[in-house]
């Protein structure tokens, strides 16, 4: 039933006019992300699972920003507008929305939604903008991580790992608009934190040194700007004389002890002839309580 007048209008009006018929003015007045879910329902559900959704309401952030009174902490956790390389300014409205749809996609300069695709979007103006597919889009907030990534000279972008492709899907789930649009390349808005694979960290035992190398993740492991994710290294050592020792090391982003890409890190072990070392590596994300095992390996010193 509702389709009929619509089809009629399609026939009568030129495309240009149609756009003004369906335009929903409030979308350009910086609404909360919930409003975008009226059409972009799936993307919204993904984003709600992301840390960007929690950026403002995170209990840890509330505590560490001294209940939102440390003003210099706030802008990246509730940004007004995201531009490549630029540290954002603080948003005035809906701060609890954290790093929101509008912050990442709406630009004051064009008063349009910018994104990676060429789309026809009657409810709001859109503009194709290739900066969305580049790592520097994330650089204004993930400043340290971006610098680390840049140094590795690896070409894969932040998005290719942290916004993995979901194949072709609909951008919108809203009648009747969904009828007019074909499926398009979609990327995950869960912004997964990911987890290093065992082979991403090489572990060697050389004499009284344990050598760890990040060979798989093209930024420090762990990496951070203001959070403090950690790696825990626990080595159970067995010496020739039967002695046993446990060595524990904490590698963290903030202490600058993280594993740099392809740069071996030496951990000094107690003196004596080590015959065997059982090494476990765990990680703890900045916002999680639990430690998760990344790798477990037993190394032997070859007898001379």
């Amino acid at each position: 039933m509702r389709l009929l007048p619509l089809l009629l209008s399609l026939l009568i009006l030129s495309c240009e006019k149609l756009e003004t018929v369906f335009i929903e003015e409030d979308l350009l007045e910086r609404p909360p992300s919930k409003r975008c879910s009226d059409c972009h329902a799936q993307i919204f559900e993904e984003w709600k699972k992301s840390r960007h959704f929690h950026a403002w309401t995170s209990e840890q952030f509330r505590v560490e920003s001294e209940n939102y009174t440390k003003t210099k902490c706030l802008s990246c956790h509730a940004p007004h507008q995201v531009d490549p390389y630029k540290k954002p300014t603080l948003r005035v409205e809906f701060k609890e929305d954290g790093v929101s749809c509008v912050a990442c996609h709406f630009k004051e300069e064009t008063r349009a939604m910018h994104g990676p695709l060429k789309v026809w979007s009657p409810p709001h103006p859109s503009k194709q903008d290739f900066s969305y597919t580049k790592s520097n889009f994330c650089a204004g907030c993930h400043q340290e991580t971006y610098k680390e990534w840049k140094l590795t000279k690896v070409e894969k972008t932040c998005q290719s790992c942290h916004m993995p492709s979901l194949g072709k899907r609909d951008l919108i789930q809203k009648f009747p608009f969904e009828l007019f649009h074909l499926a398009k390349p979609r990327t995950s808005h869960e912004f997964p934190s990911l987890k290093a694979k065992p082979e991403d960290i090489k572990v060697e035992l050389k004499g009284n040194k344990l050598i760890l190398t990040n060979v798989g993740v093209p930024h420090n492991l762990p990496t951070a700007d203001q959070g403090n994710p950690k790696l825990y290294v626990v080595a159970e050592l067995e010496f020739e004389d039967g002695r046993r020792r446990t060595v524990r090391k904490l590698l963290s982003a903030q202490s600058k002890t993280a594993l740099r890409y392809k740069e071996p890190k030496e951990i000094r072990l107690p003196k004596g002839n080590i015959v065997q070392a059982q090494v476990k590596i765990y990680r703890k994300l900045a916002w999680k309580k639990e430690r998760e095992l990344i790798k477990e390996v037993t190394l032997q010193t070859p007898s001379p």
């Binding site: 009174t69 902490c73 700007d225 950690k230």
Partner: protein
């Protein structure tokens, strides 16, 4: 005519300084608590200060432009906020002299620049007096972030400690290293020393909880500090550790400890002394 003089008026309050050769800090009255976190995030007392400061500028700017009407508006505004502020902290009631605010209003009404300058001077002295007695103590108490709430994870025991306790654990491992060295027990010295090094490295994790500019970190726990720690690690792992070299390296590490204490510990001590 009055242009120069009014400029003078502008600088009158900028001259608020500690004239005395000693600074005495008084514990701020308890009733101030409610205008600062955690009780309030609105900083009501401080906003009134800013509002008075704005009103004061409003008077000067408008007199400079010969706009006495607007100047009078700001003079009345200033009195209003002044009186309101005088009721916020009963313990400080006597610092306020509303009579002097009235005199300022009258002076503006008279449109006589000399009178305005004289009335301002007298009035602003009431601001200066209170600032001299209290501003520093209040800033240190309410506006310097507290270290007690900051937790650092101990890299040796994988447990979280608050700042003071962490400092103690770190210093204990340093002392143990020294003692073992003096007793000629190299292996034990190495073990304690490596623990100290890890703890000293981990110190840096606390900086980001308050600073967003990585340069602040570099100044104190930057490259020199990292290199000194790496050197200590190497010296301790030598077959026969060289005591003198170790102590020398330790000296260059503790330079950073002292720098950091100089910048942060005084305010931390003041807070503690006031029981905040």
């Amino acid at each position: 005519m009055g242009f120069k003089k009014v400029l003078l008026l502008l600088t009158a309050v900028a001259g608020l300084s500690f004239s005395a050769d000693k600074i005495v800090l008084k514990k701020p009255p308890a009733s101030l608590d409610k205008y600062y976190p955690p009780a309030s995030n609105k900083f009501e007392f401080l906003s009134n200060m800013h509002a008075m400061s704005t009103a004061r500028t409003g008077i000067t700017v408008n007199i400079n432009e010969g706009n006495w009407e607007k100047a009078l508006y700001w003079a009345k505004e200033l009195k209003k906020i002044y009186v309101e502020t005088s009721k916020m902290v009963p313990e400080w009631k006597d610092y306020f002299k509303p009579q002097l605010a009235d005199n300022l209003i009258k002076a503006v009404e008279s449109k006589n620049v000399d009178k305005v300058i004289e009335a301002s001077r007298k009035f602003l002295q009431t601001c200066a007096k209170c600032h001299q007695d209290n501003e520093l103590a209040v800033k240190l108490t309410y506006r310097f972030p507290s270290f007690e709430k900051i937790k650092i994870e101990d890299p040796v025991e994988f447990m979280e400690y608050e700042t003071g306790k962490y400092m103690k654990a770190m210093t204990d491992s340093m002392k143990a290293m020294k003692i073992y060295l003096m007793q000629g027990e190299g292996d034990k010295a190495q073990e304690a020393g490596l623990n100290f090094v890890e703890r000293a490295r981990q110190l840096r994790t606390m900086c980001a909880k308050c600073h967003t500019n990585k340069l602040s970190e570099e100044v104190i726990v930057g490259k020199d500090y990292e290199e000194a720690l790496a050197k200590l690690e190497e010296l301790l792992s030598a077959e026969k550790p060289n005591k003198d070299d170790i102590f020398k390296t330790l000296g260059s590490i503790t330079v950073s400890c002292t720098k950091c204490h100089n910048v942060h510990i005084m305010p931390a001590m003041v807070r503690e002394a006031f029981g905040k």
